[in-house]
């Protein structure tokens, strides 16, 4: 509808454009694992670097100029602001273009998007973080958030499984947690050909034998490939977890991140708006959830 008295000052595209990427610089590229690098970014505009705030579990839309835009979880914790850490796996076109960039190169960032973990609800409870493979990327934000606000949470348990020791993301950092007493950090690998691995060997669900979990006082955050969901979810249900205390982080194709482009729609939810964190109860009610 055209407003007769409208003057030409209305420029929603120029200000408040939700699709506008803000330029950020790569300050560090850490080659954690083959094809899984950790990129540390800082907004070029200082005020953005200072003011950017996110919730654990949220994601950004990352633009690799000339190649495209993609959703990437924020792996750093809001408790450690000023920079963003992104753990990106090289799978295709845009991620490959990202991997060709070097420190000081420029990227576009917009966000944060998605619901993130319901922190207010979780606080005061136990947390169980269970991840397989790349699933550690979104959980790491939650992990450090909880560790940095240790007094706000009861018991913290981390279960993380990778194929081999060299495939484990954030390995050094996580190994340093194993000896800490304020967290039960359980790391496992499917196989250890080198024989140098000092932690668990075996499938992820086996770690439950080493953890003390009170299903009625705990929120479980699960993330990983479909097999991880399959086995962990069953285990949690068997333990008697309420369905709405199991939190899953879902991946869908996304082009906008803000509930317009339609790609991430699951049944009647947009992964980018109502997700990517869904409870198990949501999941069984949504077709095609996993």
């Amino acid at each position: 509808m055209l407003l007769a008295d409208e003057v030409a000052t209305y420029h929603p595209v120029l200000s408040g454009n939700p699709y506008q990427p803000h330029m950020a610089r790569i300050v560090r590229i850490h080659k954690m694992v083959d094809n899984n690098h950790l990129f540390t970014l800082r907004f070029m505009e200082d005020h953005l670097a200072h003011s950017f705030r996110h919730q654990p579990g949220q994601f950004i839309m990352l633009s690799v100029p000339g190649a495209g835009e993609m959703p990437i979880s924020i792996s750093s914790s809001p408790s450690r602001p000023e920079v963003l850490e992104l753990c990106v796996r090289r799978v295709g076109r845009v991620t490959a273009a990202l991997y060709r960039l070097k420190t000081n190169d420029v990227l576009g960032v917009r966000g944060p998007y998605g619901n993130g973990y319901p922190m207010a609800e979780i606080m005061g409870n136990d947390i169980l973080l269970a991840a397989g493979g790349l699933g550690m990327a979104p959980l790491r934000s939650l992990l450090w958030y909880a560790l940095d606000h240790r007094d706000k949470f009861n018991n913290i348990t981390l279960m993380y499984g990778a194929k081999r020791p060299e495939d484990m993301l954030f390995r050094e950092e996580l190994l340093a947690l194993v000896d800490r007493t304020d967290i039960n950090c359980l790391l496992t690998v499917d196989a250890d050909p080198s024989g140098a691995w000092r932690n668990h060997v075996g499938r992820l669900p086996a770690l439950f034998d080493h953890a003390k979990i009170d299903p009625l006082r705990t929120y479980a955050a699960v993330c990983g490939p479909p097999v991880v969901y399959k086995f962990i979810l069953q285990r949690l249900l068997d333990l008697g977890f309420p369905k709405n205390r199991i939190l899953m982080s879902l991946e869908r194709r996304m082009k906008c991140g803000v509930g317009k482009c339609g790609h991430c729609s699951i049944g009647y939810n947009y992964t980018c708006l109502q997700g990517p964190i869904f409870t198990y109860w949501d999941a069984i009610n949504l077709p095609e959830m996993i």
């Binding site: 509808m1 055209l2 407003l3 007769a4 008295d5 409208e6 030409a8 209305y10 420029h11 929603p12 595209v13 120029l14 408040g16 454009n17 939700p18 699709y19 506008q20 990427p21 803000h22 330029m23 633009s63 100029p65 000339g66 190649a67 495209g68 835009e69 993609m70 796996r89 799978v91 295709g92 991620t95 420029v106 576009g108 490939p225 479909p226 991946e251 869908r252 194709r253 082009k255 906008c256 803000v258 509930g259 317009k260 482009c261 339609g262 790609h263 729609s265 699951i266 049944g267 009647y268 939810n269 708006l273 077709p287 095609e288």
Partner: protein
């Protein structure tokens, strides 16, 4: 709401006056079908058209548009060309106005789509009454009347158009014509009511949408989806012509020899195999069956949960565009096990 009437023979005059408010676009004939197009002559307008090939959606969300230009050193600069162009869409049917109202809600919310919103502000809509044909079921979808979303809406009451004034701009248009419009009297109101009854009687299609979401849930495993999946060509026609399909794709086009270029978005469809494919290689709707089911599910069930009503407005476009005759009304009837109108 202000209600006036315009003698039919004055419509030409009215059209020539409203041109000062923007570029006039209306349905024109194209090989036996109709398309919204810029008018070069008022006499080209075909206000008694059935439906246009593409809905007015194309004005608000073009098939392909540039969102940003990218230059190293400058970053992403929003592309604003054409957003402030003033257009008057003359002769939009109620269902199409309804559909734009639906798009309004999708493109509003916490993250307003500024491109859509800018165009929505700058494009005026003059709606027009229509007579349902054998593919229309807008009445069933509750989209046969609209109470907002237009600047003016004309109902055909015989010798007059009864005009609903929807916005200040609509009112300005009326005022700009001097005294072309007249007040309505009791007889006009009676004429309108008669027209309303006639229109209702003209519908040849009828589907029941109450409890449809529930039935969709119950029939999620119906064998019908498999059969439709085997038939669907994934040609995307239904999504393109749908006035409420808004899925889009975003791509970066680079210039030769640099990383500079533009970010564009273009219409997409949930019927395409790539629509729900993700980085891990998982495709959440890998089969054609899953995709065609999703299209119906999202429109008739998912959208209800999100926005309180189905996104389908019953314009009949997808049914006539589908090369393999996948027909919404038939799909709903089959889900409800309705054989014919009498058994409803």
């Amino acid at each position: 709401m202000k209600i006036l009437k315009l003698p039919k023979e004055k419509l030409d005059l009215f059209a020539s006056v409203v041109q000062q408010f923007g570029e006039l676009h209306a349905p024109v004939e194209q090989d036996g079908r109709y398309v919204f197009k810029r008018l070069t002559r008022w006499s080209d307008a075909r206000l008694e058209y059935d439906r246009t090939i593409l809905p007015p959606k194309k004005y608000f969300l073009p098939p392909k548009e540039t969102l940003f230009r990218y230059r190293p050193g400058e970053g992403f600069v929003p592309h604003t060309d054409g957003l402030d162009q003033r257009i008057i869409l003359f002769g939009v049917h109620a269902c199409d106005v309804y559909a734009i109202n639906i798009l309004d809600r999708v493109f509003a919310g916490k993250y307003q789509d500024p491109y859509f919103q800018a165009r929505r502000k700058n494009i005026a809509i003059i709606g027009i009454d229509c007579t349902p044909d054998k593919q229309c079921f807008c009445r069933s979808m509750r989209a046969d009347f609209v109470d907002h979303g237009f600047d003016l809406f004309f109902y055909d009451t015989g010798n007059y158009y009864q005009a609903l004034v929807g916005t200040a701009l609509g009112d300005d248009m009326v005022l700009a014509t001097g005294n072309l419009f007249e007040p309505v009297d009791a007889a006009d109101i009676e004429a309108y009511k008669q027209r309303s009854i006639d229109k209702r009687r003209a519908f040849q299609l009828d589907v029941e949408i109450r409890d449809l979401p529930e039935i969709f849930e119950m029939e999620y495993q119906s064998e019908m989806w498999e059969e439709l999946g085997a038939r669907c060509l994934s040609c995307g026609s239904c999504s393109m012509v749908c006035p409420t399909c808004y899925c889009y794709d975003v791509n970066d086009d680079v210039e030769l020899g640099s990383r500079a270029g533009k970010r564009t978005r273009s219409w997409d469809s949930c019927l395409f195999a790539s629509h729900a494919l993700v980085g891990s290689g998982e495709n959440f709707r890998g089969t054609r069956e899953a995709r065609i089911k999703f299209r119906f599910y999202h429109k008739q069930r998912g959208f209800v949960a999100e926005y309180g009503r189905p996104s389908c407005v019953g314009c009949g476009r997808c049914t006539s565009a589908c090369p393999v005759h996948i027909d919404v009304v038939e799909v709903i009837d089959r889900l409800r096990r309705v054989q014919d109108v009498a058994s409803r």
